[in-house]
Symmetry: C2
Subunit: 341 residues, 2 copies
DNA sequence: GTGAAAGCGCTAACAA
DNA sequence: TTGTTAGCGCTTTCAC
């Protein structure tokens, strides 16, 4: 037996209950304008008594303001985006803006759909992962007239503002560090990269920098789906069967790297002397491992935080603000899987 | 240079562009009512040409319908809720409902706030984790008059419908299995449980069932914060220093369990003969480990899926439907850390 | 098959 | 400090 019969309460109900005009009730509930302490308390008491919950739909329509920020990301199930979200939440907690999340599953068509859905709620801003979007998506974003921040990746042309790292450069830096440490027979294991542009850019930067040192990737393999940890084990076993003389494996993310690390330790292989390893992302998980996998911090928290701050700033000062570009500097953490460190 | 000057487009703009009345434009855009193919195409073309995105705020206010389902959960950063969300999304994908997520951080006051915010958007339904809520929260839920499904836990009195497992029983079952396998000196490691009711219930069921077998928990420790994997290592080391003769450790979640498992393997301890281990949740991660930790599937995906299905069914048939209770049966996976299995 | 009028519940702007 | 009036952009209802 739920209370279904009674229509939702309105301002009018509070007004009648308190004997104060709707307008003044509205002011009290929003802490807007001057209201006498007496009236204020009478209204608050009445609202509480009848259990009034404001209708934001009506409020948003009337005020033409929605305190929502659309956040559009590919996934929530790996470790990377939750941390971005934390940064966004922390920044927005200081404002009256609220994040609303949409998930694209790395599919451009889904992104377009989610974006359309989100924009139809007229949010105050949009944060979206990546810098590659369909023409239709870009058009929607531009036409929306609201602040847009693309995050994670700065290698490309943003619609408006952008906060991220250069994944191409991240790949290069890792390659340089590997070469510098004297590794020569280098393998790469990663996700299928048709839709993961950031992984692709890292790989491109990686091979480029190796080429500069006269080295070619000795072997490589790509996966999709499944438990990353398990995939890391399998692929590591595979690649070493195929190419036993590898002395370094670069993984496109930390989870498959950890899978590989655990497998190699089990096999009694000397890490980092016989084989060196590195991943990417700087996930917190690594801290609890027997050996800490070398990795590169992707600045996820900061990216989220700064993106949200840009939105918040734009919302405050309605006037024309120039698009911002923030390029963060990821740093290598050599952990215990890198020779000479 | 963003296009800020031009106000967002309205139905009226599409109407003018296409030479069709606002009303008919509205019908086309919603696929409602009979519209001639000619008119339909003319409208669609016009909408696309000028880049119109409907205003759902206005639509929702006018129609008194919002295709949103509020999902309120404690956290997104562990492995459990993302999987619940996947179940919810999968179920809602077959409807025109959309999930909107709010995060409480396990804090009742935050839950109350988030719930209030969410309800003020007048969603079509609410799914919220746990069955313990403040009186104010319960009152809001009841007063909202919309379908409510509490998830994860069935040990208590729901506001409306509920889908979950009995955590008390889960703890009992694990205790029984441990006793049956002949373990005698049993330790417990878990989170501080003041606010994590489900962990508390598992612990209560666990100690209860042990008591029935004449066994008391030999040692225990609780943590909060930090990397679960690292905490699992530390606490495992600690508890064995204090109580070296333990022959089983029950962890309140898989992540700290894995930390413990990796630590003990490093120490050369024979698992499961010298010490047996078990966690809780059945996270996918376990598959990639050298030894698979014993665990108990918490039916997370199914819980999400069924909860969403209940909401969807309720939204369809407006008429009074009885509150549903669905109690799922978790199963033990003995993995490689349980003697005699 | 199409259009005109009314109003969803709230807030901006102005009046008192 | 408080109240009144007029919409916000759409959908419902009813008329054509």
């Amino acid at each position: 037996m739920t209370a279904k019969d009674n229509r939702p309460l309105t301002l009018r109900d509070v007004s009648e209950e308190s004997g104060v005009s709707e307008m003044t009730v509205s002011r009290v509930l929003r802490n807007r304008g001057d209201v006498s302490a007496t009236t204020r308390e009478r209204v608050l008491a009445a609202a509480k008594r009848i259990g009034y919950v404001p209708n934001k739909i009506a409020g948003a329509l009337a005020s033409q303001r929605v305190n929502l920020v659309a956040v559009i990301i590919p996934s929530m199930s790996n470790m990377v985006f939750p941390e971005v979200m934390t940064g966004i939440s922390d920044a927005l907690d200081e404002t009256d803006l609220q994040p609303v999340v949409g998930i694209t599953g790395y599919q451009p068509e889904k992104e377009e759909k989610v974006l359309y859905e989100m924009l139809s709620w007229r949010p105050s801003g949009v944060i979206l992962a990546g810098i590659e979007h369909s023409d239709a998506s870009r058009a929607m974003l531009r036409a929306s007239g609201i602040p847009v921040v693309e995050i994670m990746d700065v290698d490309g042309t943003p619609v408006d503002s952008v906060v991220g790292i250069s994944h191409r450069r991240a790949g290069q830096q890792m390659a340089e560090a590997i070469v510098e440490s004297g590794y020569k027979r280098i393998g790469f294991l990663g996700t299928k990269m048709l839709l993961d542009h950031r992984a692709r850019k890292r790989f491109e930067g990686f091979t480029q920098a190796l080429a500069k040192a006269g080295i070619e990737v000795a072997d490589q393999e790509f996966y999709s789906g499944g438990s990353a940890l398990a995939k890391g084990r399998e692929m590591t076993a595979d690649i070493l069967k195929r190419t036993p003389d590898l002395d370094f494996i670069y993984y496109s993310n930390d989870m498959i790297g950890v899978g590989g690390l655990l497998y190699l330790q089990e096999q009694g292989i000397d890490i980092p002397n016989q084989i060196g390893l590195a991943g990417f992302n700087g996930v917190n998980l690594l801290k609890g491992l027997p050996k800490r996998l070398a990795t590169m911090d992707a600045c996820r928290y900061d990216i989220g935080k700064q993106a949200a701050e840009i939105i918040a700033a734009r919302v405050d000062q309605e006037d024309e603000v120039e698009p911002t570009t923030v390029m963060l500097e990821p740093t290598i953490d050599f952990g215990d899987t890198f020779r000479n460190h």
